[in-house]
């Protein structure tokens, strides 16, 4: 059932590409229909998979001579992330409702990207996973380069270069592992059972992990993320921060950690206090958390605040993964889901609801606009999203970050404490942006007053309300009842950590 999410999205992309260019309305309804159908399959698959381990969805020999299979399967982690993709896909369409320029092409790329993402989360063959991973990168480039805003060519190119550099590292790793394992299969399960030499794991693990972590926004390879997020059209920012960064984190877990369990062993010597790759990546993750938050605190562009906040929140995902303990990794997966929802919501508010009406993202200009009075819906939505993002209990982010902190604390309390500082800064930058953008008492300048005389913002539309309510509602629901996702994630993480055996 879950496999249909992939087929349907690609079929939808194909149909969109063939649509006549004048039918923008049809294109968006079609895209919405495909996205809703995708979510329906995702939910059905999630419900059907409750209480089950890994379920094979499709297994067809693809390149038999090399042992490559078209192998789709889903465990609890996949099911949760597919669910996230389904939600993000619908939200993205809803917040792209106003796209008129080449709408059918936009939605064609959009659905292709979604299909690729579904594919990555459901692939249990290393090669297949890589193929879907690459498929997801290409539409992203076009979405930004054609429909983007600020410095879009620069941002699109930067994103593509970073992505491909990461992919190249991953590809080298893939080839190496294929050669070393000597197995005639590229199935993830088979590879995880291959007894790879420790020395091989020691050099191949960091290569693959870094390759994937680039897409997850790991410091210091994060710089594509803020520029890309800002330049992208709203729906693409939502997907980029919401699910594409999760592809990287997912790769780190499913390929990096699962296939190279010994790659994280101590080196046997220590350098600058770091005794293993685990220490190295944990420190990078923690730096990302604090650095991303501090930089977000200094931004003057509203969208950049959210862009850097993604770097900080993804740091929690990486930190959780690298703890290698049950609670930390579970927290990391939950944080992937939570951040996917919340980043989508924040970008939707900032990039779509506010920007399309004010035509500025400068906090200094928004300050004079009294948005809390003139756009109360946007203000209320941002307050809720901001609270959720800063880790207010009752929303999904709190549970996830709490688990990551507990997991990190078990390994090294200093990681948890430093990450905790990041949370405090997170409160500060979210609060600052909220105050400046919506609740400032600064008087509007004469010029602005004149311009606005008799000028009203366009009314909030139904797709915007629907999207906000859906995303905020999901975050609240998961925050209040995390068990619904944890019951799926925990057994899968347990199996994965028990030796990649799933």
């Amino acid at each position: 059932m879950l496999a249909w999410t992939i087929y349907l999205s690609f079929a939808g992309a194909l149909v969109q590409a063939l649509l006549p260019k004048s039918r923008a309305g049809l294109a968006r309804w079609l895209a919405l229909a495909v996205a809703v159908a995708g979510l329906t399959f995702a939910v059905a698959g999630f419900v059907a998979g409750m209480g089950q381990g890994r379920v094979v969805l499709a297994d067809v020999p693809w390149v038999p001579s090399m042992g490559i299979h078209f192998l789709l399967a889903a465990d609890g982690i996949s099911r949760v992330l597919v669910l996230l993709t389904g939600l993000a896909a619908i939200a993205g369409v809803l917040f792209s409702w106003n796209i008129e320029l080449r709408a059918h092409e936009f939605f064609a790329f959009y659905l292709a990207l979604i299909g690729g993402v579904y594919g990555v989360f459901l692939s249990f063959d290393l090669f297949l996973l890589f193929v879907f991973y690459e498929i997801a990168i290409v539409p992203k480039y076009f979405l930004i380069a054609i429909w983007g805003s600020t410095q879009r060519e620069y941002a699109a190119m930067k994103l593509a270069i970073y992505s491909f550099a990461g992919s190249a590292m991953v590809l080298i790793g893939l080839l190496a592992i294929y050669a070393t394992a000597g197995s005639h299969s590229t199935g993830l399960i088979e590879l995880s059972h291959a007894e790879l030499p420790v020395s091989f794991q020691m050099w191949c693990f960091p290569l693959v992990f870094t390759g994937f972590a680039i897409l997850a926004g790991m410091w210091p390879f994060h710089t594509w993320a803020p520029t890309g997020h800002v330049a992208a059209p709203t729906a693409a920012s939502m997907l980029l921060a919401g699910v594409v960064m999760k592809l990287g984190a997912y790769g780190c877990l499913r390929v990096g950690i699962a296939l190279f369990p010994r790659g994280l062993d101590p080196w046997g010597f220590s350098f600058a206090g770091l005794g293993s790759w685990r220490d190295v990546f944990a420190v990078l993750a923690v730096i990302g958390i604090v650095y991303g938050a501090l930089v977000a605190l200094a931004q003057t562009d509203f969208k950049f605040v959210i862009g850097y906040s993604s770097v900080s929140h993804m740091g929690f995902v990486l930190l959780g993964l690298i703890t290698l303990n049950q609670i930390g990794v579970t927290g990391a997966v939950l944080q992937m889901f939570s951040h996917g929802i919340l980043a989508g919501l924040l970008f939707a508010i900032v990039g779509r609801i506010v920007y399309e009406r004010t035509h500025t993202r400068k906090l200094a200009e928004l300050e004079t606009m009294h948005l809390s009075k003139r756009m109360p819906f946007a203000a209320a939505a941002f307050v809720i999203a901001g609270l959720a993002s800063m880790g207010m209990p009752g929303f999904s982010g709190f549970v996830a970050e709490l688990q990551v902190l507990v997991g990190a604390w078990k390994v090294n309390p200093w990681w948890a404490i430093t990450a905790g500082v990041g949370i405090v800064v997170g409160v500060a930058y979210t609060w600052r942006a909220m105050q400046k953008a919506f609740f400032s008492d600064a008087l509007p300048s004469a010029h602005v007053l004149e311009e606005e005389h008799g000028h009203h913002f366009a009314a909030i539309t139904w797709p915007e309300v629907t999207g906000v309510v859906m995303l905020a509602g999901v975050s609240l629901f998961v925050g209040l009842y995390p068990k619904i996702l944890l019951d799926a994630i925990e057994p899968a993480v347990k199996a994965l950590l028990a030796g990649g055996g799933q």
Partner: protein, 507 residues
């Protein structure tokens, strides 16, 4: 125990009211009044159903997220139930007092009701996650009530309030994280038991080394901000002064009690032993809070700031009582045990009485402001007892209650606190008693300046309380007299809880 989830109902009721109020526009106040009246009725019903032995009753338990130690675990004893009643009374008073909200009344009363739900939730939660959820939930509406409806300098006041409380919450969270990692539990009764047997400290030490004292300090810091305790009180005067008066009623009447309640439900039960180790510096801070609060009040001319600092002073007595009893006492020392029980009874009574009295005082400030177009300096008024004898009479009773006049509610709590603290920490008690004299001076000055002397020009046509106001205020003043004359109405239910609590604490 009880089949009917009455505590859940109590917590959810204001949220439903809030949702309705949001859409009710100018009828929002009516919705809020009905909701708060119903909540008060429920809270009183809960008060009558407490177990007679003072243990925690009306328990509701359900699995929530077991792997994280998160459980839906509610229950109340005499302390919790009294706080529920107080919250319900204060919220009702606040809604009653706020009949001039013209700007977005739906949102205003919606936020007030969310705040009420936050109070109810935090006074009934027995699991850290659940408790923290509502602790933070109450913070958000409070921030926006100050930020959107406050006075001229509301922006900085709201931000300062929020930042202080958030920083306190962060300290709490980190400390609890460590406790959870060590013990695998977030359940208050379970952790209390572990602390009593000493296992809590053992687990923490075996996980992290000897940091239990620091955890205690982290938890204390979180509550110290909320109460507030010197030197963490600096957010309070600005927030109380800039918030609209009905919101100040909520802040001082109910929210400040969350801090004291937290000390009694969480800090002392879990870290009693550590708090006993640093008892002397804590007592010093409590005395500083008492004395500084009252001297600062004496130096103000703005009525709201006077009552704000006076609140700091009154809650200082609660801190004094709590820290004074944090001392190991031999099982044979019956006299000291009686002192502990007296002080703790006093603390809990003082929480209730200060809540009612302080809320009433800020209500009177709201009335004075409404009648004079926003004046609230003590020098702006004079001779009001002539044009407004009823107002002068009722406000006088509230002021004397705040002063601690025997026969009114304020006296009983403070008396019991001093009765208990004196044998346990006589130096602190003595210095604090001297503070009472300054309190008397401050209150009497307020009475003199407002009700006596020549009537200033703009007060010449000062209208007395009208029927509706008299009707609304009479029960509150009546309550002050009732509790003052018959404190056993509360003590009879609180005392078993006090005995039960002390039996589970280890210092």
């Amino acid at each position: 125990m009880s089949g009917f989830p009455i505590l859940t109902l109590l917590t959810v009721l204001p949220l439903i009211g809030a949702a309705i109020a949001l859409g009710a526009g100018k009828h929002a106040r009516g919705v809020a009044l009905i909701t708060t009246l119903a909540s008060l009725a429920l809270a009183l019903a809960i008060w009558t159903q407490l177990p007679v032995n003072g243990s925690i009753g009306l328990v509701e338990r359900a699995a929530w997220a077991p792997s994280l130690g998160i459980e839906y675990h509610l229950g109340v004893d005499g302390l919790g139930a009294l706080m529920l009643v107080l919250s319900a009374i204060v919220t009702l008073m606040s809604v009653d007092a706020a009949h001039r909200v013209h700007h977005q009344p739906g949102l205003y009363f919606g936020l007030v009701l969310v705040l009420e739900s936050g109070l109810f939730g935090s006074f009934t939660a027995l699991n850290f996650f659940h408790w923290f959820l509502f602790w933070e939930l109450s913070l958000i509406p409070a921030f926006f009530l100050i930020k959107l409806w406050g006075g001229a300098r509301r922006g900085p006041a709201a931000t300062q309030f929020f930042v202080y409380t958030m920083a306190g919450s962060a300290a709490l969270l980190v400390a609890f994280l460590a406790v959870f990692v060590s013990t695998g539990s977030m359940d208050f009764p379970h952790l209390t038991l572990l602390a009593y047997t000493g296992e809590l400290e053992q687990s923490v030490t075996s996980h992290f080394g000897p940091i239990t004292l620091w955890l205690a300090i982290g938890v204390l810091a979180g509550f110290a901000v909320k109460v507030p305790m010197a030197p963490f009180h600096t957010w309070l005067p600005a927030a109380y002064a800039e918030a609209p008066s009905p919101v100040t009623m909520l802040l001082t009447g109910a929210m400040s009690k969350m801090g004291v309640y937290g000390l009694l439900r969480i800090a002392i039960p879990l870290f009693g032993h550590q708090i006993a180790q640093i008892r002397t510096p804590l007592l010093v801070l409590a005395v500083v809070t008492v004395v500084m609060g009252v001297w600062a009040a004496a130096a103000q001319t703005d009525l709201k700031r006077i009552f704000a600092y006076s609140s700091v002073n009154h809650l200082g007595y609660c801190l004094l009582g709590i820290f004074a009893i944090a001392v190991p006492i031999a099982a044979t020392n019956a006299a000291a045990q009686t002192s502990q029980a007296a002080a703790l009874n006093g603390v809990i009574l003082q929480m209730f009485n200060h809540g009612v009295t302080a809320a009433a005082l800020f209500w009177f400030v709201a009335i004075l402001q409404q009648r004079t177009g926003g004046h609230r300096g003590i020098n702006d008024f004079g001779g009001l007892r002539k044009p407004a004898p009823v107002l002068a009479g009722l406000m006088g009773i509230a002021l004397f209650s705040s002063l601690g006049l025997p026969g009114l509610n304020g006296f009983v709590g403070e008396f019991l606190i001093f009765r208990g603290v004196f044998p346990l920490a006589w130096v602190a008690a003595t210095i604090s008693i001297l503070g009472l004299l300054v309190t008397a001076t401050v209150i009497l000055t307020v009475i003199q300046k407002i009700f006596w002397g020549p009537v200033p020009e703009h007060c010449a046509n000062f209208p007395d309380l009208h029927e509706g106001e008299r009707l609304a205020l009479a029960p509150v003043i009546g309550l002050m007299i009732l509790v003052g004359l018959l404190p056993q109405l509360i003590v009879d239910s609180v005392n078993p809880t006090v005995v039960n609590l002390l039996a589970h604490w280890r210092f």
